[in-house]
Structures are given as structure tokens and as C-alpha cells.
Subunit: 361 residues, 2 copies
Amino acid sequence: MGESEIKRRHTRTLLLGDLPIGGKAPVRVQSMTTTDTRDVESTIAQIKALEDAGCEIARVAVPNREAAAALHRIKEGISTPLIADIHFDYRLALKAIEEGVDGIRINPGNMKADRVREVVLTAKDSPAVIRLGVNSGSLEKDILSKHGGPTADALVESALRSIRFIEDLGFERLKVSLKSSHVPTMVAAYRGLAEKTDYPLHLGVTEAGTLLRAAIKSAAGIGSLLIDGIGDTIRVSITGDPLHEIPVAFGILRALDVRRVGPDIISCPTCGRCEIDLPSLVDEFERNLAGVGADIKIALMGCVVNGPGEAAEADIGIAGGRGEGLLFKKGKIVRKLKESEFLSVLLEETGKLIAERERGK
Amino acid sequence: MGESEIKRRHTRTLLLGDLPIGGKAPVRVQSMTTTDTRDVESTIAQIKALEDAGCEIARVAVPNREAAAALHRIKEGISTPLIADIHFDYRLALKAIEEGVDGIRINPGNMKADRVREVVLTAKDSPAVIRLGVNSGSLEKDILSKHGGPTADALVESALRSIRFIEDLGFERLKVSLKSSHVPTMVAAYRGLAEKTDYPLHLGVTEAGTLLRAAIKSAAGIGSLLIDGIGDTIRVSITGDPLHEIPVAFGILRALDVRRVGPDIISCPTCGRCEIDLPSLVDEFERNLAGVGADIKIALMGCVVNGPGEAAEADIGIAGGRGEGLLFKKGKIVRKLKESEFLSVLLEETGKLIAERERGK
């Protein structure tokens, strides 16, 4: 009610295994393993943990022949589509396709044209999708020198060059990424490319750093593009355990109302007006709701300034007063609660709502 | 080199105390206390802690007469401009101005027009700035019913109505905020208002929740606007200790290259290609650099794919190999390092660079 909706840009739909990407498909969340790809067992275990967290596409590094030869066995052990990440050596791409991966990611900045041709012609005889992964850290030398550095225009030119080259070979199962660690450059590049092609775009801020820093950079960069309807798959890149990437990715999609996965918990920062212990309530409530996937909106508000207004827009809300508060359901005041009742009543009402939603499915 | 720059929208410059806002002034970071404003000592202590963290504008809730009467004493104890946050009761605004605050924040959704008039006429005889704080949780009833809810257009209409009303009284020391807890609505509202007025805009996603959730929502909402050059002051609203708001706010400005405060640490997510313990290195390096305000760019990269490229764009960089790595300074390879030397050499080189920068000032 009363909320602005994002209009998604039109893109083609691709199938990555059985998973549609682009077009009207939800914006997909992907991640990449940090295990040694040759270690099949650890790699499968990490991908399964990512799947449990909600990851929809798994990518693995393929730096050598042994890693490529492990791909078929890895694919057998997992449910998500599998992408092989290839740099430099086109033979690893050929081997990955032979192993039956759902997609390969190649970087036109570090593979010669005649070798890209061989990879594309091999992919053409398979169901594999190709992601063109252009990255400011590995652009073609002639493009870098023409633009004086890894500018947004340089990234777009690199992508368009490779797109045309691959289209001329009769291959169109492409998605494209244009990553830069400099957020305004990344945003300008994707905006530029989105005007020139309707291939699905994979969004990411590369080399974004540790958890909070990466969440900020990714939300700003990916978020700016999603708000303009750009983006079909996303990856939040965090230095460390890739499991942390998934809640941040869904958090960005949730924050922008692009995918309603999990609860939207609205809570005020509190100020000199707040006469309840709101931070503890929110913390405990969030802890209790960890892992819940239902699309519900809860407003936990410290006072009467914006409390009733926010609570009226939420499925369930509390607007605090002095050691007490009003309980709202779907915009209507239900009753007054003592502060000591807040958590138990909230959890009870939330549980009822989730059960209703489940029955309604 | 090669990076896209954000072009800031033209806005008027206001003085908040001695602090310029809008125009060519840096995008300012503000926060709000959670102490009881009547408790002068605690409020000053919290503002001083916020100042130490880099906060440039402090706002306090003024819910009652005693809080208003404490404002002069609070102002005496702090260095940042002081803003009084007023709802419902116009007499508190009059008292706040009398107490010498640098600005008041009023919410046109909860104060009658003839009372707003009295506040504005009183502010006119003082140096105080007025922030019109429009909030989706407390819009005027007639505007809500006209638009069928707190839409972006409803927020813009509410703001424009109050702006015109105040301008007609001959007052123009205004800044404006249009907050919503729904990020696409908030972004659409600010974009709409930015086309219609050149008053400085204060950006925030309201009721954004706890730390990580709030960082994501704020970076997406505030970030999307900053990328388009919109925004003159920002507030990241986090449920809990306001001290957490400041690094997130500067993190957003840093990520978008809007203000270069503190180091930009680029680090890759690592993958099956990485043969050094990069996450530990980044963690320890970040810990050592906590609180450093110098504008430096450091790239810590796990392998040769994007490592040399990112390192070449940074002031100092490491591109990892098998248990070793290359040290880069300003784009040139300096020497090969053993993994055990990484942290000490990085800290030494960073220290030298900061010292150079200091001397250069």
C-alpha cells in the first residue's frame, strides 16, 4: 500500500540447468566456493551449506586440470547449477564443458580471441551458458590504453567487443558482468551496458572487503542498479566465509523489495523519546526469527511519533509508550501490552501469521 | 585514474552554526542521541563520543519542556551544531530557538499550520535553520487519503506544501528530508523533490533496524541517491548505540567516493585459486588501521587473476601467489614477499605513506 515499485528492465531469459535467469525470473543469488576445487568432498559440502542458506547458483574456481576433472563429481553432489570460473587457459573451459557444468565464466581480458572462439564453438554443442566476466582488474591492454585506465566506458567497450565476437559465432546464451571495485565506475558501466544489450546482467562489486564494508559497498552498488531495474543475478563478494554472502545478498533484495524473502523488520533507532528497551526487544525478536523465509512486515517502534504510522503499514506492529505499548495488526490497534509481554505476544502473533500465510499458499 | 566521478546536484548553501551544508560543502554526517535529553551530562557525553567518531551534526529529541530547557547547557558542552527534534508541540520549538540551538527539525505532519507559522516567525529572528522532516509514518491525513497511502508523491506533496508555506513567511533557511522505511519509495520521493527545489536535502532510510540490516538498507537507499548527486547531509539510522551509525555513514560516503575519509581497503573474496591466508591478513590489517583517517587505497588480493590489476590502481597492493606475493607501490612491483612478511611490510609501507601524506598537507 502506497509503496513505489521497481520496474525491471527487459532482458532475455536463459536457462542455467533448469534455473531460469533474466526475463521475469526472480533476481538470483549466487556465490563462489573458497575450497580447493580438487577437493570434491569439501567443495560439495561448502556448496550444500550455501544451498541451505538460500544460494541459487554456485561457482567454483578452475585454476588447473585437476580442478576441471573434478567438476562432474561436484555437479553430481549438489542441487544448484554449477559454474566453472576460468581464467587464462581455454583448455580448462573445454574440459569444464565436457564435464557437464551448467555454465562457464570466462574473462575476455585474459584469453586470446582464437581460443575464446574454440570455447564458444564447444559450448554451442552443449547446454552450457557463458558468462562474460569483464573486470576492471583484468581489462584488455588496448582498451586500457585507449581509455587511459579501467573507466566505465572501457568496461562497456570490452564487454561489447566480446559480445559481438561471440554473437558472430552464432552463440547467444550469454550473461554479462562488469565488475569494478570502484562503485561509481561499476554503476556507470552497468548503466551504459544496459542501454546497449538485453542479455541478463550479473551484478557485483568486486573485491569489496570484509563483512560490513562489503555489505555497504555491495548494497550501494548493486542496490543503485536494482533500483533502476538493472540486474538479473547478484553476487555479494565478501573476504572470508562465502556463507556470509547469502544473507547480505537477500538483505539487499529484501531492502529494495525486489524479492520478499524473509521478514522485513522495521525498527526505529530510538531517541530521547523512547521509554521502552527497544534494542533488546529487536535483537531477541530477530534471533527468534532467524531462518524464517515468510514474507511478513513487522514494525517495532519506540514512541508515538512515527510508531502508529509505521505500525499501520506493517502486518504486526508495536508502538511503545512508557513501559507499555500498543499492538497493531494490519493497521488496527488490537490492545495495549505491558513491556514484559512484548516479545511473547509478538512471537505468538508472528507464528499465527506465518501459519496463515502457509495455509494460504 | 579511470574512475567515474559523481556530479553533485546544485543546492543552496546553509550555515548550521559555523558549519556549511549544501552547495560545495562535503556531504555531512549526522546522528541523534538516545539519552534522555533532560540528562544534560549523559547527553553531552554521548555527543562528545559521536564527535570523536567523526559525527558533524548532533540531534536530540525534545519531547517536553524540561528537555527544551536543557538545550542551552547541552550546546555549551559540545562542538558540533545542535539540532532540536520537535514533534506535536510548537512551544517546544519556540523554547529550543530561545535556547540557541543551531537548527530545529519539525514534522509538518504533526503540527498545525498556524503553529508552524509562529515557529517560523520566531526562527526568522534567530540564526536557526529549520529542517522539514517529512516522514511516511506521520503524513498529513488529507495527503494520505488523496494518495491512498504514504506514496513517494505523497511525501513530495507534503514537503512542497510546507516549503511554500514557509517561503511565504519570508523564511528560506531550510533543509528537507523525506523519510520512508521502504527504500524504493524513499528513493523515488527524494528524486521527485530534487527536481523541484534546490534546498539542501538530508537523506535517511528511517527505522532501518539493527546494524547489518540498517547498513544494507541505508547503503542501498542513501547510496542510490548519492550516486545521482542527490544529498547534502546523511543519517544512518540504527536501532541501538548511535556510535555505530558514524562508521557506516562514512563507509557509504567512502564506498561511493563522495568523501575520502579513511582507507579504502580492496580485498578479494578468495576462491579455490587463493594460496595465502587472505582473510586473516585483511582482518589484522583492518584492525591495525582502525581510526586512521588518511585517504589511502590498499589492495589485498589472493591471486594473479585480478591481483596485479587492482594492485596497480592502489597506493599499496599485494597480489598473492603460493605462500608468497608481490608487493606493489603506486602501480609498480617493488619486490616479492614471503607470506610471513605481509602484515609487517604492509603496515610499514602504509605508515610511510600516511606520513608522506601528512607532510604534503
